[in-house]
């Protein structure tokens, strides 16, 4: 069967994770993966909708799945793990006829019988390009970089819904970054919660949990944390000062989206990857990659901000 892809950017793509969106588009463009937005997509409801009511959450998700079906899509890609989790949960819960009937009551028209498969952009890339295929396309190896991968909670859990490998030790991002030439550390907190959506109502929780992740990455001498989730990225990067304040420490740890790291390796200009949007400056990483790519052996001292 021919795979027709639809793309669900998620709300944060047009807001605080505009850099994730930019770099996702750039990387998929460089790899020849076409991303056509689901027509008139809406918010998946994120945590607030399912925390309040799972039927409401499913109704918001199903409208998107329905629009994807109408666009003849049989594979749906989304960069955001929270959107991914909600869309996959909704599709699973709709298998229960009683649940489906309750959700249909909320919708303008009943949900379609079959939904497209929803996977992350990361899996979408991996399905089309294995490690060797990616390595062949690398123009500027990430060789000088020591990276820690951080997946967050939702990408791999619950395992039976997300189907993303080992729910506490996923390794897909490591494979991709290794293919891009990077040294990847074995990061024990890669699926331990960053504090999620409590940044606003319960800041102390998020500051403490994010601080633990940042402190370990710093202890393991990582040059950067590499993430796949807009909310994790915001907690670890934009809120890094809050975490530093809570931990009484300085981390100065750049937090890149995996698409930004991949984009650099594929030779996409940093300006097209939204690197300048990161709160913790990552220019030192770019300098290292450039220096290595141009064959310079000069030490890049003090490049970390």
């Amino acid at each position: 069967m021919k795979t027709t892809v639809a793309y669900y950017p998620g709300c944060s793509a047009h807001g605080f994770s505009v850099d994730y969106e930019k770099s996702t588009q750039a990387v998929c463009g460089a790899l020849g993966i076409r991303l056509n937005d689901i027509p008139d997509w809406n918010c998946c409801g994120s945590t607030p909708a399912h925390a309040v009511d799972t039927e409401l959450s499913a109704a918001l998700c199903v409208r998107n799945l329905d629009n994807a079906v109408k666009a003849d899509a049989n594979e749906l890609l989304t960069p955001c793990p929270s959107c991914l989790s909600n869309l996959r949960h909704a599709a699973k819960r709709m298998e229960d006829p009683r649940f489906r009937a309750r959700v249909d009551e909320l919708l303008d028209n009943p949900a379609p019988a079959v939904f497209p498969e929803v996977i992350s952009v990361m899996q979408g890339i991996a399905r089309r390009f294995d490690a060797n295929a990616l390595a062949e396309r690398v123009k500027k190896p990430l060789k000088p970089l020591r990276l820690a991968t951080y997946y967050g909670c939702l990408m791999s859990r619950p395992a039976e819904i997300m189907d993303f490998g080992d729910p506490e030790n996923p390794t897909l991002m490591e494979s991709m970054l290794t293919a891009c030439g990077a040294e990847v550390v074995d990061f024990p907190l890669k699926t331990v919660c960053c504090g999620a959506s409590f940044g606003i109502p319960e800041r102390a929780v998020t500051a403490r949990l994010s601080g633990r992740i940042l402190a370990l990455a710093a202890d393991m001498r990582a040059d950067a944390l590499v993430v796949a989730c807009p909310l994790c990225q915001m907690n670890l990067d934009l809120r890094q000062k809050q975490a530093e304040h809570a931990a009484d420490a300085i981390f100065a740890m750049p937090v890149l989206y995996f698409t930004q790291a991949m984009g650099l390796a594929l030779g996409v200009p940093p300006g097209r990857l939204g690197i300048e949007k990161l709160r913790v400056n990552a220019n030192g990483l770019i300098d290292k990659i450039e220096a290595a790519a141009s064959g310079s052996t000069a030490p890049v001292e003090g490049s970390r901000p």
Partner: protein, 193 residues
């Protein structure tokens, strides 16, 4: 929690209700404590995850539905993954939170205020509108200085658009209808929307 329990305070159908609504079997819990050991939010819980499970088994409905932990759960589902009896503890927590909310037991109001602020922007625009969420949350919670420290960085990086992205071609109105039907049904069924 482990002290003598007043028999008359036990709700004998509570566990059955929780089992039915969460599709779990809470009676399978034998108190190994793995859920609590792995919980990243345990340090702000007033009742630990394993205590909540025991509370459900014992029918301690008041204690369980009024506890702060239901609202502080991060939904990371580490507990579910590590349960040796395959109980989806996170699903039980979510079910308990739904039960508490429907009965207007809002133990941590600011968390719920944040959710409502978020959903209000979705109802109007069809998508999240971040500045709107913040503004509504500040109005509701009266926490005027929420994240004020982030404002200079956010403005400098131009990360938050001032204008909302409204779903076109009637999409925003369609979401408004979903939200309205949800609210009307909740009111019909006598539960907090």
């Amino acid at each position: 929690m482990n002290d003598a329990i007043v028999i008359t305070q036990r709700d004998t159908v509570f566990m059955k209700d929780v089992d039915a609504q969460s599709s779990q079997k809470v009676s399978a819990c034998y108190q190994c404590g793995n859920c609590t050991a792995g919980c990243p939010a345990s340090f702000v819980y007033d009742m630990q995850a394993n205590q909540i499970m025991r509370g459900v088994q014992l029918g301690l409905k008041e204690a369980v539905l009024n506890c702060r932990s239901l609202w502080m759960c991060l939904s990371c589902s580490t507990c579910s993954l590590r349960c040796p009896n395959s109980i989806d503890v996170a699903a039980v927590m979510e079910t308990l939170r739904h039960m508490a909310r429907r009965q207007n037991r809002i133990t941590v109001p600011n968390v719920e205020k944040f959710w409502h602020s978020f959903l209000d922007t979705v109802r109007v625009c069809g998508r999240t509108y971040e500045i709107g969420v913040m503004a509504l949350y500040i109005l509701r919670s009266l926490r005027v200085f929420t994240d004020l420290d982030l404002a200079p960085e956010v403005l400098k990086k131009n990360k938050l658009p001032f204008m909302p992205h409204v779903v076109q071609n009637g999409g925003a109105a369609a979401i408004g209808r979903i939200m309205r039907r949800y609210k009307e049904r909740a009111e019909r069924e006598g539960v907090r929307p």
